[in-house]
């Protein structure tokens, strides 16, 4: 009991410390001072009266939402003897693997820099600054010469690194035995099995209504849809983050989605936030980074070529360029196994007071990165709000999809979960694909790394991301990937090569699939 109490006080102390630096804290302080003038606040019961005032005026709810947000994002405090690296990633060999992978990325970026003789960062001359400011809202019309730039890495390069991940203390014998993993991932991480998934995703059971399925034209709206919308409106009126997160597990009505996501992610557009975004915009205008060209190239190659997202090209630049300058993102590296790249001001190599991170937010974009932002453009049209939502989604979820870690929502665990599900429940299909040299993970990896963005139709994708927010976990991506294979199992048994498996319309045209088809016939409900 003593241990639990001291753990609890440690968590409380950590959250209080974190919230003390936030806008909410200064707002609460201001409100408390202002409330002293109210007649119901008496001096002898000052504390209780102010607490009562906060409860009535809704400020207590805001504080509750902020605390809930902190609990969702931050890992539990670790053992006092554990060094900071342990919080980033407890397994030593994974930390080492992430370090080597990062070194490769840095080398690649440095060599691009020297080959093209372009500096990592450059202050823009005043004329150029004015020009950029004028065409801020239409940067997509710019056609810079990006032919010499290449993305730093693509998901398939990352997959090769994950395939070669080995635990030095694990029996990685050459001969096949019961210990050999038949899939591509060879590390024995703990992944949930079907009974555990059933327990975890209980709201996705057959007997509970789902949006995207039970609101289709064949089902009369009185049965589920109307009531669900009514509850959603009530949740929004109450402004309760925890309730919203529970509600959204059954899907969100389109009209309420933007507000619900903002409530769950605890984003409220205050004047300070708009000001912060404007400050980032100024930073973009003043300094030109090499990373900007990578972002341009990525948007041109991916989002601009996508039927759903090409209209949002300008928004994508406005969000991603500002994202690269945002130093507040650096705080998430405390629980991310990755570390931000470091450099020094020219001429001051080795002097710590001239050490800086590059890019300022520590995140180097890879091929397809802009697809994390693109679906959000359907929900938010005001650039600073769109920016805040994307940043929060990144530091809560997306960073786990491109760093090597043992976290249950990390990409390594997702890959292992996918392979384990497929092997356990579709052993014939798994064996067949393996025999023809088409390991299933080679096909589904790119879907999971991008959280299915660009691979599913947008309305279906947003229903999927509803569940990611609702369960605060990315495991649903692995389950959906396995479900897609289950859905197309019959066709896949007929293919004879990896190229055929990928090229044939079975898997390529995910976009025409409806989640309800997959889910109803074969997928998640099949699992249950």
């Amino acid at each position: 009991m003593l241990q639990e109490e001291s753990d609890l006080s440690l968590i409380i102390a950590q959250i209080v410390q974190k919230l003390k630096g936030s806008n909410l804290y200064s707002q609460l302080e201001r409100q408390a001072w202002a409330s002293l003038q109210r007649p119901e606040i008496k001096l002898e019961s000052l504390k209780e009266d102010i607490k009562e005032f906060f409860k009535i005026s809704g400020w207590e709810k805001k504080l509750q939402n902020a605390v809930y947000s902190e609990l969702s994002v931050f890992p539990l405090p670790s053992h006092p003897a554990a060094p900071p690296e342990h919080l980033k990633e407890p397994l030593v060999y994974m930390r080492k693997a992430q370090g080597s992978w990062e070194k490769r990325i840095l080398k690649s970026l440095n060599s691009m820099c020297t080959e093209l003789s372009i500096p990592l960062a450059r202050k823009r001359p005043v004329g150029e600054q004015k020009e950029l400011l004028n065409k801020w809202n239409e940067m997509g019309t710019d056609e810079p010469d990006l032919s010499l730039f290449r993305p730093v890495y693509a998901p398939k390069d990352f997959l090769e690194v994950l395939i070669n991940l080995r635990n030095p203390n694990y029996e990685n014998g050459d001969s096949l035995s019961f210990r050999t993993h038949l899939g591509l991932i060879q590390v024995p991480l703990k992944v949930k099995d079907i009974p555990e998934l059933k327990e975890c995703f209980v709201e996705l059971g057959l007997n509970i209504g789902q949006l995207g399925i039970d609101d289709s034209t064949q089902v009369p709206p009185e049965l589920f849809e109307n009531e669900h919308v009514r509850i959603g409106q009530k949740v929004l009126a109450e402004q309760d983050s925890a309730a919203a997160q529970q509600y959204i597990r059954q899907g969100s009505p389109t009209a309420l989605r933007a507000e619900l996501w903002a409530l769950i992610l605890n984003i409220s557009s205050q004047p300070e936030d708009v000001l912060y975004y404007e400050q980032l915009k100024t930073n973009v205008i003043q300094h030109d980074l090499l990373v900007d060209s990578l972002i341009y190239k990525d948007v041109k190659l991916t989002a601009s070529n996508d039927d759903y997202y090409f209209v949002f090209e300008d928004y994508l630049y406005q969000v991603l360029l500002c994202f690269s300058r945002d130093t507040s993102v650096l705080s998430h590296f405390a629980f991310n196994s990755a570390s931000p790249p470091k450099s020094y001001i020219r001429g001051k190599l080795g002097l710590e007071e001239y050490a800086v991170f590059y890019p300022p937010n520590g995140v180097i974009p890879f091929h397809g990165f802009s697809m994390y932002v693109a679906p959000l453009c359907f929900l938010y049209h005001e650039p600073s709000k769109l920016y805040q939502i994307f940043r929060e989604m990144y530091v809560r979820f997306f960073f786990r999809l491109h760093s090597i870690s043992s976290h249950p929502s990390g990409i390594v665990s997702l890959c292992l979960l996918f392979e384990t599900l497929l092997q356990t429940y579709l052993p014939q299909l798994f064996y067949h694909l393996r025999e023809i040299g088409a390991q299933p993970l080679r096909i589904s990896f790119k879907w999971m790394v991008r959280a299915f963005s660009g691979y599913l139709a947008t309305d279906q994708l947003l229903l999927l991301w509803d569940r990611i927010l609702g369960y605060n976990s990315l495991e649903i991506l692995a389950v959906l990937a396995a479900a897609v294979f289950a859905f197309r199992a019959v066709n896949l048994m007929e293919v004879t090569s990896l190229a055929a498996a990928e090229k044939k319309n079975h898997l390529r045209e995910l976009k025409s699939m409806y989640l309800d088809d997959i889910v109803k016939i074969h997928g998640l409900f099949w699992l249950f």
């Binding site: 630096g21 053992h79 407890p90 991480l189």
Partner: protein, 214 residues
């Protein structure tokens, strides 16, 4: 509660295995680590901390003096404590662990020796052990802070009847209100906000060398 590190000598681990260690195919699933305290008198154990390395279950036996004249006896104080919920997977494999006196099966007074029995039933791991073992005993109690008397127990002074008749407020109530206000101002003064800086350049300059590999 303060704690004091007890200097200990950790002997090398001994594998318990049936048959010849060299020729048998399997790996030992049980290891024993003895911990002695050469320069310390029998003490009361408060806490054990260590870093796990693929050990699944831990048992601890202690050599304890029950009374002054009887010889010390071995007692099991922890039996099959689970460090890895699934011995075949990585969960809990490299975690930092603390074990406290209140989790033990017996009282931890007058300990002279410790024996850790590590078990790892899964054949998948090449080796297992515990690292960074540290034993703590209870430290001296922190000295009680003495508050000035007037702060904690305002002396009820005699109330001249005159004051009350004049309709002035009750002095003890006023003093408790002043006390609360003082406490609030102290709290506000003590807290400091951790403001976000937001600058990524150094004095307006962001002209960089190539990225460093550390």
């Amino acid at each position: 509660m303060s704690r004091v590190l007890v200097p200990c000598h950790v002997k090398g681990s001994v594998a318990l295995q049936v048959g010849d260690v060299r020729t048998s195919q399997g790996r030992p699933g049980v290891l024993v680590i003895d911990v002695t305290f050469p320069s310390v008198a029998p003490f009361e154990l408060q806490e054990i901390t260590f870093k796990n390395y693929y050990t699944a279950f831990l048992s601890i036996r202690v050599r304890q003096y029950t009374s002054a004249h009887t010889p010390a006896k071995w007692v099991t104080c922890l039996r099959d404590y689970c460090l890895m919920p699934d011995p075949h997977s990585e969960e809990g494999a490299q975690e930092y662990v603390s074990l406290f006196k209140h989790q033990m099966l017996c009282d931890m007074a007058r300990i002279s020796e410790l024996r850790l029995i590590l078990r790892q039933p899964s054949p998948l791991w090449l080796s297992f052990t515990v690292e960074e073992l540290q034993i703590y005993q209870q430290g001296p109690k922190s000295p009680s802070v003495t508050f000035p008397k007037w702060l904690s127990h305002p002396v009820p002074c005699e109330q001249p009847a005159l004051l009350r008749e004049q309709g002035l407020p009750d002095p003890s109530r006023v003093s408790s209100e002043v006390q609360q206000m003082w406490a609030l101002t102290e709290m506000i003064r003590a807290s400091h906000t951790s403001a976000r800086i937001g600058r990524f350049d150094v004095d307006g300059c962001y002209d960089l060398n190539l990225l460093s590999y550390t």
